[in-house]
Symmetry: C2
Subunit: 349 residues, 2 copies
C-alpha cells in the first residue's frame, strides 16, 4: 500500500504506551445513540459561543424566510471521525485492529509468522513493535486489511469491535464516542442535514460501525479508499476482494478530494480536530452562503486528553492540533470547541 | 489517462457516421421527468413478462408481510446510463462533448491547435478523426476533461448540453431518455428505493445532468472516476482541479467495484444493456433474497436502433449485447426487455 499522509511511524511509537492488546468480549457493538428518544438539542453543551454557533447556523439554514436558507438536498455536514467523534488516544482504533489481527492472519498463512515484521508483532514486545519501520507497518496493513472479501472483512472487524476494549476506560471503542457530538449529529439530521463521516481511516473499516455507532449509513462514509478486484469463487459466484491499491488517501488535501469523489457537492458544515482536517474546513468555508466550520480542541486531560500543541497543550503525534491551525481558525471565523469549557459531559457511559 | 475497458477506437471510427458536430442552442436542459404529475406506474410498458417482473419485484420487496421484504435502507437500484436510460447511438454523448470541446480548449491553449491530434479534430474531417489512434483519443480526453476546476467543468458541460443536438432527432441529448425507464426510476423511488446511475462514462460528466434529467442527485452517480488535486488560487481559495489520474474505470468488473466504493452495499436491482453491465448484474444477482436483473435489448430500428449481435441483431461497436450475455440472462433468470415488444412508447418528445 502506498505511503499515506498519516505519520504511521509516530503511530507505532505511541504504541509503547498501550498497556495491553487483547480485550475481553462485550455482548454487542454500542447501539447508535442517534436512536435514543428525543431530548432538548445539544443538552451536553454548555451555553457559549460554540453551542450558539451550531444553533444559529441550523436556524439560519433551515428557516425558509432566512436569507441564508439552504435547500435540504444541499444540507451536507461532514465529520472527521478519530478525535472528532470518538477517542483517538492512545492510538487510532484501526491501527490496533491491524496489530491485533496479525495472529489470525498468521494462523491462515503460517509462513508469515516466521518472517518480520509479523514475528515482532506476535512477540507482544511493545518496545520492539514501536521500533518497526514504516515499510514494516505497511506490510502489516496490507496483510490485515486486504486479500479478503469485503463481506469477510466486515465480519472480522465487527467481531473485533465487539471484543476489543480501550485500556483506559475498559469499554468498547464504539462506546467512547463524544456525547456532545452525537447530539450534533442527531440535531443536524433532525434539521434535514445529511451527516457524513470523512475520515483518514479506512473507508471499509469505518463503514462496519458507522451505522450502529452514529446512525450514519455506509454510503455516507468517506475514508481512505483501497481498490477491490472482482473474482469468481469455485461456485462461479462473483466476490469483491480487497486489494492493496490505494485509490485515495482521505487525509489533509485528500479530504476535499474524497468529498468531491463520493458526494459531488461542497459541504456547508465541517467538523474536525486536527491539522489533517484543515483543507476540509477551508474547502467548506470557501463556498458561498452560510457555513459552519468547527474544530474540537482536546484540552481536558481529566475527562479525556489534552493535546495540541496549540495554546501550549502537550505535543501530540496522533491528532496533532498546531498553533498555526488555531490561528487560521481564529482568522477565518471557525469555531474552536473547548472540550473542557463547552461540554458538560464527554461520554454517555 | 490510463486506457479504459471501453473500446475508444471503435467509438472514434463510428464518428464517421455523424452528420455534424455543432448543434444550435436549446433554452434549457430537459427537466427531470421524475417531477411530472403522478400517473399509473409503468404506463409506457406493454403487459408482459418484463413489466410483470418489475411490478412483482417491487411488491415482494416492499410489502412488510412478504418473505422477500427488503428494509428501505437496503433498497438500492443501479442503472447503467448510455443505452439503458438514454440513446447511445451513434456515439456516447460524452465523447461528442470531448470532440466538440477541442476548439474551446485550443482557444485557451493555442499551441495545441498546431499539434496532433487537435489539428485533425479542428479540421472537421470526420474520416480523418475516425482514423485517430487510441493514444490520440486519450490526449483529447485529457485535454477536454481535466485541468479545470470541478465547478468550471460542470458549467462547461451544462452549456454544451443546452446547445448540442442529437443529429437524428434534432433534440437535446438530455431529451432522448427512454420514457419507460423514467417510469421505472420514478416507480422505484416512489416505492422507497434509492436509484443510482452506474455508468462507464465519467462520473463528473453524468453528475451535471443526472438531477435534472433523471431526478438522481450527484452523490448517487457512480461513474468512471478521475482524481482531483486541491490547489489554491491567487486569492488563497482552495479549488479542486480535475487531473488525469484514473482512479476507477467503472465498466465491466469496474461496475461492482465502483458500487462497493461509492455505496458500500450490494444492490438488489440492476439494469443494463450491454456486455459492460454483465458483472454488475452478476454481482447484484449473487446476493441473497429478492433480486431484479434486467437488460434493455435494442431491437427496434424504427423507433430507435437495433443492435446486438445477440439474436442476429446487427453487430455494434457501441453498447455491444452479445449472444453470450443473452444466454447468461436466460440461464440466470434475468429479464431481457425487448424495446420493440415491451415498450408502447420510447420517448416523451
Amino acid at each position: 500500500m502506498k505511503s499515506s499522509g498519516i505519520d504511521r511511524r509516530a503511530l507505532l511509537s505511541s504504541l509503547a504506551a498501550l498497556p495491553a492488546f487483547a480485550g475481553s468480549p462485550l455482548p454487542a457493538l454500542a447501539q447508535a445513540k442517534a436512536d435514543a428518544p428525543s431530548a432538548p438539542p445539544l443538552a451536553s453543551w454548555n451555553d457559549g459561543a460554540a453551542k450558539q454557533a451550531i444553533l444559529e447556523f441550523v436556524r439560519a439554514t433551515t428557516d425558509p424566510a432566512s436569507p441564508k436558507f439552504v435547500p435540504s438536498e444541499e444540507r451536507i455536514a461532514c465529520f472527521d471521525q478519530d478525535g472528532t467523534l470518538w477517542v483517538e488516544k492512545p492510538m487510532y482504533t484501526q491501527v490496533l485492529y491491524c496489530l491485533e489481527s496479525v495472529p489470525g492472519v498468521v494462523a491462515r498463512q503460517p509462513e508469515l509468522g516466521r518472517a518480520e515484521p509479523f514475528k515482532t508483532v506476535l512477540s507482544g514486545d511493545r518496545e520492539a513493535i514501536a521500533r518497526l519501520s514504516l515499510h514494516d507497518l505497511e506490510k502489516i496493513l496490507v496483510a490485515t486489511l486486504t486479500g479478503v472479501s469485503v463481506e469477510a472483512f466486515g465480519a472480522e472487524v465487527g467481531d473485533w469491535l465487539r471484543a476489543a476494549k480501550n485500556p483506559r476506560w475498559s469499554r468498547a471503542y464504539t462506546d467512547l464516542t463524544y456525547q456532545p457530538m452525537q447530539e450534533v449529529l442527531r440535531y443536524m439530521r433532525d434539521s434535514g442535514f445529511r451527516t457524513y463521516i470523512v475520515t483518514g481511516g479506512g473507508q471499509d473499516f469505518a463503514r462496519v460501525y458507522a451505522q450502529r455507532t452514529y446512525g450514519i449509513p455506509p454510503e455516507q462514509v468517506v475514508g481512505t479508499m483501497g481498490g477491490t478486484t472482482l473474482r469468481y469463487d469455485t461456485n462461479g459466484e462473483p466476490q469483491l476482494i480487497k486489494d492493496p491499491r490505494l485509490l485515495l488517501n482521505d487525509d489533509s488535501a485528500g479530504k476535499p478530494e474524497g468529498i468531491h469523489l463520493m458526494i459531488g457537492r461542497r459541504p456547508v458544515a465541517a467538523f474536525g480536530n486536527s491539522d489533517g482536517d484543515r483543507e476540509m474546513l477551508e474547502y467548506t468555508g470557501a463556498g458561498g452562503g452560510a457555513r459552519l466550520m468547527m474544530l474540537v480542541m482536546h484540552d481536558d486531560a481529566q475527562r479525556e486528553y489534552a493535546y495540541g500543541p496549540a495554546r501550549g497543550l502537550p505535543e501530540s503525534k496522533v491528532g496533532r492540533f498546531s498553533q498555526q491551525l488555531f490561528d487560521e481558525a481564529k482568522a477565518k471565523g471557525w469555531t474552536v470547541i473547548s472540550m473542557k469549557d463547552d461540554w458538560n459531559r464527554v461520554f454517555d457511559l
